[in-house]
């Protein structure tokens, strides 16, 4: 049915938009990590390279949940599993 397919596609687009709200959490988390790393470098400038690599590793792990939201949005928009 024509109406049904379009309706499902529109709902998929709304769902994709809702799914990328998952990016809020990792954003806050990465910001906190970067802030604490900046404070650590300020207190102990000699350990800058160690602090930076640890911060990047932690941020990349924290980013994973946001990326899952992004993947769900991509699947809804481009693979269209519900519209078939």
């Amino acid at each position: 049915m024509e109406f049904n397919t379009n309706f499902i596609l529109g709902c998929s687009a709304i769902g994709a938009g809702l799914a990328v709200i998952a990016g809020i959490g990792p954003g806050i988390g990465q910001g906190i990590a970067a802030g604490h790393a900046a404070a650590a470098v300020g207190r102990n400038p000699g350990a800058k390279s160690d602090v930076t690599s640890t911060m990047l590793l932690g941020q990349a792990v924290a980013e994973t949940t946001g990326l899952y939201g992004l993947l769900v949005a991509m699947l809804l928009l481009f693979v269209k599993p519900l519209g078939k």
Binding site: L9, L56, V61, L67, L70, L71, F78, G83
Partner: protein, 239 residues
């Protein structure tokens, strides 16, 4: 499909994997895709570099030339990275970590040269994740023996075992999805910019290329290798 989803219907936005040609294998159609070709190109570049490096080291001079300097720099950097994380286990895993580091790094930055990055295909990253997973568990059984593995599985109490098992299985999936989603998001973003803003995308996308391909690619390569090394040295440690 209706006109609702404009993006996928427009012809000039293109970041999907395409089949190049297909062949029959045991009654199933198997496609050779753009990913295979990009992996092949990356591999050819690595092989050419290796042959040249082998030649440069074989006829090494006391005062190193430019190319010998570059080769020594790369090897020394990888050795230091592996040695700093794995400590006494580093001689065994230096070659594996170095190999995947160079492969993932070249794959990630191949977007700069107009290829579709091979790591933006879940098949490639999942294979890398499975390789790491195999290595983790092989070393766990080798160093901790069956008793240690079972003890680690029933960590606080034996009733915890199913949850620990799910945690073990999640390792390669999250490892590969992290790399895949990061590279894919960069690829999609660049395709959208070149597709939708093609009239004004003159020089400034170069800055985005530096971020999405070089910076993000290097960080994700580093993170993948770092996590691989951490997991493996955890598996090797007996306590």
């Amino acid at each position: 499909m209706g006109q609702g989803v404009l993006l996928t219907e427009s012809a000039d936005i293109d970041f999907m994997i395409h089949g190049v040609f297909s062949y029959e294998l045991f009654g199933q159609t198997v496609w050779i895709t753009t990913t295979h070709i990009c992996v092949l190109i990356v591999m050819l570049v690595i092989i050419a570099f290796c042959l040249a490096a082998n030649r440069a080291i074989k006829y090494a001079s006391e005062v190193p030339g430019t190319f010998q300097n570059i080769v020594e720099l790369v090897v020394e950097m990888l050795d230091n990275m592996v040695g700093g994380v794995m400590g006494k286990f580093s001689p065994k895993f230096r070659n594996y970590v170095g190999t995947i580091f160079i492969f993932i790094f070249l794959s990630n930055i191949s977007g700069l040269f107009g290829l579709r990055p091979p790591t933006a295909d879940y098949g490639v990253t999942f294979a890398l994740g499975i390789m790491t997973f195999t290595l983790i568990h092989y070393n766990q059984f080798k160093y901790q023996k069956v008793k240690g593995v079972i003890a680690g599985l029933c960590d606080p109490w034996p009733i915890w075992a199913p949850i620990n098992m799910i945690g073990e299985i999640a390792v390669p999936i999250s490892l590969s999805l992290r790399l895949f989603a990061n590279v894919l998001s960069g690829t999609v973003m660049m395709a959208l910019i070149y597709g939708l803003l093609s009239k004004i995308a003159i020089i400034w996308p170069a800055a985005l290329h530096v971020y999405f391909d070089l910076f993000s690619g290097a960080i994700q390569t580093y993170v993948f290798c770092m996590l691989t090394m951490t997991y493996i040295s955890n598996a090797c440690t007996t306590d």
